[in-house]
Symmetry: C2
Subunit: 385 residues, 2 copies
């Protein structure tokens, strides 16, 4: 079976008409949502798949990005770049645009077109900065729900995502059980384990300890906490990969030298150079405050705490559930997906789980497309019959 | 069998008479070494054990520290505190001071009394800062050898240490094969794996990106890279513990609150609060440049690279070797100790290896004293007969 690309796509923007209530008790007015769509909406509007992105993603999930106007944080949505889940979305792919109408939005609090800390606060005329309200995964989903209302879409054939995107899919099934047919939850969890909390705390500390963060009000000052966010990104990168993957990829090879150079400041090993490069390119395209808010939201996420117990949370779900996890993922280890599956089964819900044996760690959800595709296609097929 | 304390001990200082040659080709003059001793030197001087500390340790390995004069970095050597390996050193303990004369030194490049970046450069009259020469584990061992020469000690009954201390023990056996009877290498490796290189690189980046680092010349400016070193220490702490240990110790418990507080800046989870506390207390007692230099040395350490191959390096060893590793240690995983043991066996050397099943990660070498003690005692007994 041949697969294709959705071609050139442009990120569009929609302004929510009403204020958005938040878990914190605050509300956000004038919320704008950046989004892309792929495929064709059926006349019955019953073929919609919402895909949700992870911490550093955006609305540009598939195809080739058209040159778009600068927006929000000032970064074009990956101009001319390939979407972050292009291997999974398109004609004949896992999320098959010959059959489904796939919608991808930038999440609430984002910096790629959807309202976030770098957006202008309508009440002050200045960017929110750290006055932006703290948001939760449930708030992100509430925003997605309000956005779909504007498109006249009541029901979703599927909500799908990896990592933080998978948390959103779970939250959808819990928050709006009557409106979601299936969820596809990849490399995710119902609650991050304490080591994951720690990595996120370290990343946030690194940003907030950078004097250029300026208490969160750095916009327009000509300075941004690039140094701190660079370190945060380095930490992230190592947690997304497995130790064996690093061994295969870099080993202890020196970077362009025969012997160690007896320097403190230079990157001497390949893995050191790689980390610096990752940090440098990330700070060019991402807003530090969005990193803080999104990281906070994903550490808060805890279906058990929010609903009394995991059992009570999952009891609400009516969607058929597909869980995929990866053997080498130590940030979102398979055990959490297994817990969800066991609990859903115990409650008599329809659930399917696949633990894929693959070496790349958490990044597998973006890399192991070929092995996820048949699983996802078959799962979605069964829902359509 | 009852065990005791070595009592109150004072850190002493010795100045090396000659310059110390370094792997980098540079030399260091006027090197001072901080040290402590426990037990009694035999008339034959044949009962000496040298213990080597890890990244953040010092000469105060056992007993209760006497109030000592400020030195070096300006930090008293843990005044009145208990030594970092007190559970292992003392009458009736693993390193039995009823039989052995145990010596502990602060390593070269340190900030606890031995010459390091915070020491005064005799040529300029100012602290070295980042003009301090880059040092290696072999340099640390060369310094220890020169120091023992001054004490008139030719032979060591044992060299022992965990982590970076274990690297020094291995290096002793390779550099001075005729002068070491046994080595005790705990939770260590012949070469850090790439993920370990990465964690160390991240820690160093975090310090060097702190503007208060000032290119390494922050002494006397009233500012030090505490923010960056705090993040470095947080990273370190998480890599020293295992994920299950964090689960047991903290879970996802909130810090003194019933519900999340919707804040970005506050520590809301217990594990977040713990990390901040660890960072705060560490920056009070440790010098950031020493962190950089020591971290660099332990990433350089690679017996295979330095000697053509691991086989060729270990071929030099004549000491009996005891290796101890811990099942949950993912920073210095047991596989490295196993590689060393296999290679030594293949070369017909005397080697003993124990993988202890324990849940606390790399920190086990400081925590699992009760289980290490009989192994070490038996090993040292066999050497004495």
């Amino acid at each position: 079976m041949s697969t294709g690309s959705v071609g050139i796509v442009e990120t569009r923007y929609l302004d929510l008409p009403g204020p958005l209530p938040l878990d914190s008790g605050r509300t956000l007015s004038g919320v704008r949502v950046a989004y892309e769509t792929y495929g064709t909406l059926s006349p019955e509007k019953d073929n919609v798949i919402l895909v949700c992105h992870a911490l550093s993603g955006d609305a540009h999930a598939a195809g080739i990005g058209a040159e778009s106007a600068l927006d929000g944080f000032g970064a074009a949505a990956s101009p001319k770049g390939i979407g972050w889940w292009d291997g999974m979305i398109g004609p004949g792919k896992a999320f098959d645009t010959d059959r489904f109408f796939v919608i991808s939005t930038n999440l609430l609090g984002g910096c790629r077109g959807t309202t976030g800390p770098s957006s202008i606060d309508p009440e002050t005329g200045f960017p929110y900065g750290s006055d932006f309200p703290v948001i939760t995964v449930a708030d992100m989903v509430r925003c997605e729900r309000a956005f779909l209302d504007e498109l006249g879409i009541d029901r979703l054939a599927a909500v799908a995502g990896g990592s933080l995107g998978g948390m959103q899919a779970l939250q959808w099934a819990v928050s709006y059980p009557g409106q979601v047919d299936t969820i596809v939850v990849i490399a995710s969890t119902h609650a991050l384990h304490p080591q994951g909390l720690a990595w996120n705390a370290i990343a946030r500390e690194s940003i907030m300890r950078d004097p250029d963060w300026q208490g969160g009000h750095y916009y327009g000052t000509g300075r941004a906490p690039d140094a701190g966010m660079g370190v945060a990104r380095m930490v992230g990168h190592i947690t997304y990969l497995s130790a064996p993957a690093l061994e295969t990829k870099f080993g202890r090879r020196l970077q362009g030298r025969e012997d160690v150079g007896y320097t403190i400041g230079e990157a001497e090993f390949e893995v050191e150079s790689y980390l610096r490069h990752q940090a440098e390119s990330f700070v060019k395209r991402f807003d530090a405050n969005t990193y803080l808010y999104t990281s906070r939201a994903l550490t808060y996420f805890d279906l058990g705490r929010e609903h009394g117990s995991l059992e009570q949370a999952l009891e609400k779900i009516r969607a058929r559930t597909l869980l995929i996890a990866f053997s080498s993922d130590w940030l979102y280890p398979p055990v959490a997906s297994r817990q969800i599956a066991d609990q859903l089964e115990k409650s008599g819900k329809s659930v399917e789980i696949h633990i894929i044996d693959a070496p790349y760690g958490h990044d597998c959800f973006l890399l192991e497309e070929a092995r996820q595709t048949p699983i996802v296609r078959k799962f979605l097929d069964e829902s359509r019959t």
